[in-house]
Amino acid sequence: MNDHPPNDRMEAVAAGDRDPGVEAHLASCEPCRAYVARLEDAALDFRQKEGTGGVFLARLEAAVSRTAPKSRRANRWATAVYVGAPLLAAAAALVLWVRAPGWHPTERPGSLSSMRLKGVIGLAVIRERDGSQERFTGEVSVRAGDRLLAEVDLDRPLPIAGGMLGSNGEWVTLFSPTLLVPGLHFSDQAVRFDDRPTEGWVIVGDAGAVERARLTQSFDDVVAIQVRVTFE
């Protein structure tokens, strides 16, 4: 078909896989080298937006647990009775170990560990700009005129509250405190950014945790997505 390696193998190299055949070709083919460089840049941008993919994973795990057969769920509970205590002890030991002095976590709010802390709440934000919508599960950038909605995915009934906390302490409610059933929910309210947009965080959790997060700007007990301002 052509003298270049297949697309999927070039993309695999751009993803970080080793492929001596493709790498040898890249050394002598400028168009392919440029193509792989563009792929690498775009993939890096995606990873920066997605963070560790914690929200995506949490949604997957929620979906897996939602669709698990009931008998398996029952077995899981039975298993939990037998193995739960040792596992809990191990988990507690792990927490003590990672919290030891000298260990400095660098994860952003809303990444995998904070997601799991709360069971499974999948959070995404929908940005409306110039009539089109885009969904973000990592950091989102906004500019004047944008609107943000929140999307929450639950695998069990949970009392939920949420909103956007500006870096200046301003609060805009997106989810009034309410009991949400399992499934996907969109906020009934939206944040609209005027010509002087404010950075901050979209946060969701139970009402008490959200209230504490608003006061302390510590997001250990809520799920959060950072909102940044761009001036394009």
């Binding site: 297949p6 563009r38 994973l57 969904r135």
Partner: protein, 172 residues
């Protein structure tokens, strides 16, 4: 979370971090709808989490993942009568240097008209740029069969391109 047939959450997380961009780009290219692409990506990873243990032993993981993602996309193509003709936001990366973008886009437009076998061949030939020999080896068919099918798909794509060119000429 892991089981014998599936992958653990940490394995899936690592796959998402490494290949997530490429898989989403593939979904977006085939479905031409951002929200649907996100849904299909999610669905694909669900399948991988439940039954993707085989991935640990494959030579080209991304090709294997594309196969899963393509099948999920094809399922949605079957369910939906019409997909958008083009993306609102074009792919910023651009095409592989060996692929004719007009032909590729025409092929993507006619995926809805093809059966699953033809779709798989179309993706390998016109999106991934595999030679007919490579496709024959990948699918375990004879090269003659692949050649016939590729030519038939190309003829249909050429018809689309000719029609598109005609309608463009008709625009004042």
């Amino acid at each position: 979370m892991g089981n014998e047939a599936g992958l653990s959450a940490s394995e899936v997380g690592a796959l998402y971090e490494r290949y997530g961009f490429f898989l989403r780009r593939r979904c977006r290219m085939v479905l031409r709808d951002d929200a649907l692409a996100d849904d299909v990506l999610h669905e694909s990873f669900l399948k991988i989490m439940r039954g993707g243990a085989e991935l640990r032993n494959v030579e080209h993981p991304l090709r294997w993942l594309y196969c899963v993602v393509d099948r999920c996309c094809f399922d949605h193509i079957r369910k939906r009568s019409h997909l958008p003709k083009s993306m609102d936001v074009p792919d910023p990366v651009g095409p592989h240097p060996g692929i004719q973008i007009e032909t590729r886009d025409a092929i993507l437009t006619i995926l809805e008209e093809l059966d699953d076998e033809e779709r798989r061949i179309a993706m390998l030939a016109f999106v991934d740029g595999l030679s007919q020999a490579e496709i024959a080896e990948e699918l375990g068919w004879s090269r003659v069969t692949i050649n016939k099918k590729v030519q038939a798909i190309r003829t249909r794509a050429d018809r689309i391109l000719t029609e598109a060119a005609g309608s463009t000429r008709g625009v004042p």
